[in-house]
């Protein structure tokens, strides 16, 4: 297992190098002059030049890249000019917010989509199957920001059921003491159920917005995978052995069907991280996505680079987790490792 993990990590190296180079180049070809932007409204050419120098933007591209690599090696990701903070600190404080939202959304959509997919597969061709297909497809057919705005308008503005979309906590609540950065966990650790409730309340709308988006791929994959497993020969054996349909579907078919679904989850997660960018903006969520967008729009290199590196690491971690999950589910993978 350890060997396999190490081997997996080695294959990630070229990807990471690729990410660093692509990110660097991408941010450098971004239009705009950060020096002029940050020099302020009444700046003259000289003061812009001064700022350009202080940002290291007067150097040649390879020089800037070397400098960047050097900083990276020291763990210095630079400062985000838009919030004025070190990028590392920003990412560390914002990543839990995004992760909490994304994982909640993922969990929510798995809870809904997987049973739906199973149901659709078991009742293949019935009206339930068609309904599942139409409902999940409808969910993925709306731009996520539009769903978000619509939800806010209906559930907050018109009906008043949801709390104000002001971020992770309402205006007057205080964040729980930092342990994991996940408010849901931290508030429970602190035994502060009011904050826990407030966190859940704030999470419901944005998480549902994103979950709606993730329903279709998960349900679709679950259905297809269940269908192919259900038609396989070992299911016939299980049925011929008199195992009841519950055992056949859940213990025999479902676990086998989970393999491609787990792979899909990786894709969906990456998909949701992208959707995060838009949802965070709508719900004033202090996450890493909205932060990166702002930085990108302002040609603020450092946060964009930091963000993408963080994402790449997250991607690596996620893929490792998927591989591990695969190993747990499928003994064949274990042997190959």
């Amino acid at each position: 297992m350890l060997r396999a993990t190490l081997k997996r990590l080695v294959t990630i190296v070229p990807t990471l190098i690729g990410v660093v180079v692509v990110t660097f180049l991408l941010t450098r070809v971004l239009p705009g002059d950060p020096a002029a932007y940050f020099a302020g409204p009444t700046a003259d050419a000289a003061s812009i030049e001064q700022i350009r120098k202080s940002l290291g933007l007067d150097q040649s591209l390879p020089q800037q890249f070397l400098r960047y690599l050097g900083d990276l090696a020291r763990g210095d990701l630079g400062n985000a000019l838009s919030t004025g903070q070190p990028v590392l600190k920003e990412i560390a404080s914002r990543l839990p917010a995004s992760a909490e939202l994304t994982l909640s959304a993922l969990a929510l959509s798995i809870l809904i989509a997987v049973p739906l997919g199973i149901l659709a597969a078991v009742k293949e061709g019935s009206w339930i199957d068609h309904l599942c297909r139409v409902v999940t497809t409808a969910g993925v057919s709306l731009p996520v920001f539009f769903t978000g705005v619509l939800f806010v308008c209906i559930f907050y503005y018109r009906l008043g059921w949801a709390p104000a979309p002001v971020g992770r906590l309402d205006l007057y609540s205080v964040a729980p003491p930092h342990v994991t950065g996940f408010f849901l966990i931290d508030s429970l650790l602190a035994g502060d159920f009011d904050t826990f409730r407030a966190t859940v309340a704030q999470l419901i709308l944005p998480a549902s917005t994103m979950a709606l988006f993730a329903l279709a791929p998960i349900a679709r994959m679950t259905r297809a995978s269940m269908l192919s497993v259900l038609s396989s020969e070992f299911i016939r054996t299980a049925r011929a052995s008199g195992l009841n349909s519950r055992t056949v579907i859940l213990r025999y078919a479902f676990r086998n069907a989970m393999l491609p679904v787990v792979t899909t989850l990786g894709m969906v997660f990456s998909f949701l991280l992208g959707a995060n960018v838009l949802v965070e903006k709508v719900f004033a969520w202090p996450g890493i996505g909205s932060f990166a967008v702002e930085a990108l729009i302002q040609s603020d290199y450092a946060p964009v680079q930091g963000f993408v590196l963080a994402m790449a690491l997250l991607y690596v971690a996620l893929n490792l987790m998927i591989d591990l999950a695969y190993g747990v589910i499928d003994p064949r993978v274990r042997l190959e490792a």
Partner: protein
């Protein structure tokens, strides 16, 4: 003696897009207690569907449209699903072909047996494991405690089939339905599995239904045989009687199409078809293909350099030897001759044929074709070599070997357009039609796609493609393994006729010694990459010298007569 299973006028329908299809039509079947009944038929005869209907595990599209099924007096057709799940595995159980696919790939085999035991209350949480291990012991699995924790992919095909048998017999059912239980297994394994089934069912006084396409198998193991054709029962009789004196035409046809010791190629065909005798083989003395010391090595899978070497203990250890799929074999084929290459799976016969075919580069050794050293030309660039057209191949699976998006004529025309000298679409088409005539493919099939043709038709397309460029050597890679016996008979005859007509040489790769004998002048028996025995097919079959050959021959079940 009352019948354990009594099926009367069973009719099964499938809803397809072209309307309802009757897969089984008014079938009657009786199985007495302790009796072994064989259901024999070619593909599409409805033999499997009948058994699925009895178990009530038909696909969603299928339904029992008429008739009755009684098991120990219980009406299975009218039973509720809950009743049926109690009966399945407990009273009637099934074993399937392709044992590895029949087991849950990600559940320990022991747990799978436990699932069944516990489902039918044959074991509680305390003793389930012990009972499962006991079952493993009964199906003669060595080290059962250890195997309990194995996953199907860790076991061989034969071993998996033993697990499936354990699964089926765990709850001591009264009836076992074995659906092609040995198909896909090597002959020697086949025999072991069938002997085990017989032994266990006899010991328990169980009844068995053996569903098979192999008349030999049915003859060897059944008391009674039911012959089915296109969903209908054409003949039911005691096994001895069926083989001694088949009454129905279809049974007769099936009987004579099944190769057995003493049968001739023409004899496989029904009397009214087989008009002219086979042309005599025109074997010249000239050597066409010469293979010398052919070796193919593969690096071993898994850990190549062990940790020990890293810690400096490597010097004492011998370096890991690569796996030798083909271990220095030599043989030759003369012009007009056909040579059989026989062996069980993994013996290296396919690797050898691929190397001769020049699709694979040998590790060492020579291959010369009519004096030209074709082994020296890399497989990668052989496609553009002028020698390419001299060796062609007929593949094992006619479906897999035809591009599903090409019509028959397009498939046949491919070599003509690539390597032929023909100019213009008209000339190509004419040659296609000529070839179609040669292989007996009706011309109106030329514009069909593979999925619109039957297995025999697809085999003919494959043969037409192989002979399109008048090759000198044709490699036949189990060309009839996927075909029903009656079709096999026709195809084998066709191949023999073509050889005589076109003066080609054949390298016939097969696992079936009887088939090889019919078509080939000489036979090579391979095992573990090496040649065990070679000689004229007559000699090898009738007076085998090697023990292995003898074992192979004796394992083949064949109908009496």
């Amino acid at each position: 003696m009352t019948a354990l299973l009594d099926v009367k006028a069973l009719t099964v329908e499938f809803a397809t897009r072209r309307g309802t299809v009757q897969a089984v039509k008014t079938v009657d079947l009786e199985v007495a207690k302790g009796e072994t009944v064989g259901i024999v038929g070619e593909s599409g005869s409805g033999k499997s569907v009948t058994s699925y209907a009895v178990m009530r595990i038909l696909d969603r599209a299928g339904r029992i449209a008429g008739g009755s099924v009684a098991f120990s007096g219980l009406d299975l057709k009218g039973a509720t699903e809950a009743q049926m799940t109690d009966i399945r595995g407990r009273e009637i159980s099934m074993i399937f072909q392709n044992p590895r696919m029949a087991l849950n790939p990600i559940r320990k085999v022991g747990r799978q047996i436990e699932d069944v035991l516990r489902r039918h209350a044959q074991a509680g949480s305390m003793d389930a494991r012990a009972k499962a291990i006991e079952m493993l012991e009964q199906v003669k699995i060595a080290r059962p405690e250890e195997r309990y924790h194995a996953y199907p992919f860790e076991l061989s095909g034969g071993m998996c089939q033993r697990i499936v048998i354990a699964l089926a017999l765990a709850c001591r059912p009264q009836l076992l339905i074995a659906d092609e239980p040995t198909t896909g297994l090597d002959v020697t394994t086949q025999k072991a599995v069938m002997d085990l089934v017989t032994e266990l069912t006899r010991a328990r006084g169980m009844s068995t239904i053996l569903i098979t396409h192999d008349l030999g198998l049915a003859a060897a193991y059944c008391d009674k045989v039911v012959v089915m054709k296109k969903g209908e029962v054409v003949e039911t009789a005691a096994a001895r009687d069926v083989f001694a004196a088949p009454k129905h035409d279809y049974t007769q046809k099936l009987m004579c199409a099944t190769p057995r010791p003493g049968s001739t190629l023409r004899g496989l065909l029904p009397a009214e078809v087989a008009a002219a005798p086979n042309p005599p083989a025109a074997v010249s003395g000239e050597v066409l293909l010469k293979v010398q010391n052919l070796v193919k090595e593969y690096p071993r899978q898994g850990v190549t350099k062990s940790g020990a070497q890293m810690f400096g203990r490597g010097a004492a250890q011998e370096p890991e030897k690569p796996f030798r799929a083909v271990d220095g074999i030599s043989f030759e084929i003369r012009r007009g001759e056909s040579l059989g290459l026989v062996g069980e799976s993994g013996c290296g016969k396919s690797t050898t044929s691929m190397m001769v075919m020049r699709l694979l580069d040998p590790t060492s050794g020579n291959i010369t074709l009519g004096g030209d050293d074709i082994g020296a030309i890399q497989a990668k660039s052989f496609a553009s070599s002028p020698h390419r057209r001299r060796i062609q191949m007929v593949f094992q699976d006619p479906t897999d070997s035809l591009n599903p998006r090409f019509t028959a004529s397009r498939a046949i025309a491919d070599p003509l357009m690539r390597m032929g000298a023909l100019k213009g679409a008209g000339a190509v088409r004419a040659r296609c039609e000529q070839l179609a005539n040669l292989v007996g493919l009706p011309l109106d099939l030329l514009d069909r796609f593979p999925h619109q043709m039957s297995g025999g038709q697809k085999a003919r397309v494959g043969i037409a493609r192989a002979i399109a460029l008048d090759p000198e050597l044709v490699i036949l890679d189990e060309p009839t393994a996927a075909l029903d016996v009656s079709v096999q008979a026709v195809v084998l005859n066709l191949l023999d006729d073509l050889k005589a007509k076109l003066g080609m040489s054949y390298l016939f790769v097969s696992h079936d010694l009887h088939v090889v004998r019919l078509l080939c002048d000489r036979v090579i028996v391979m095992r573990q990459g090496a040649i065990v025995e070679q000689g004229s097919s007559q000699d090898v079959l009738e007076a085998p010298k090697a023990d292995y050959t003898r074992e192979l021959i004796s394992a083949i079940p064949h109908p009496p007569g």
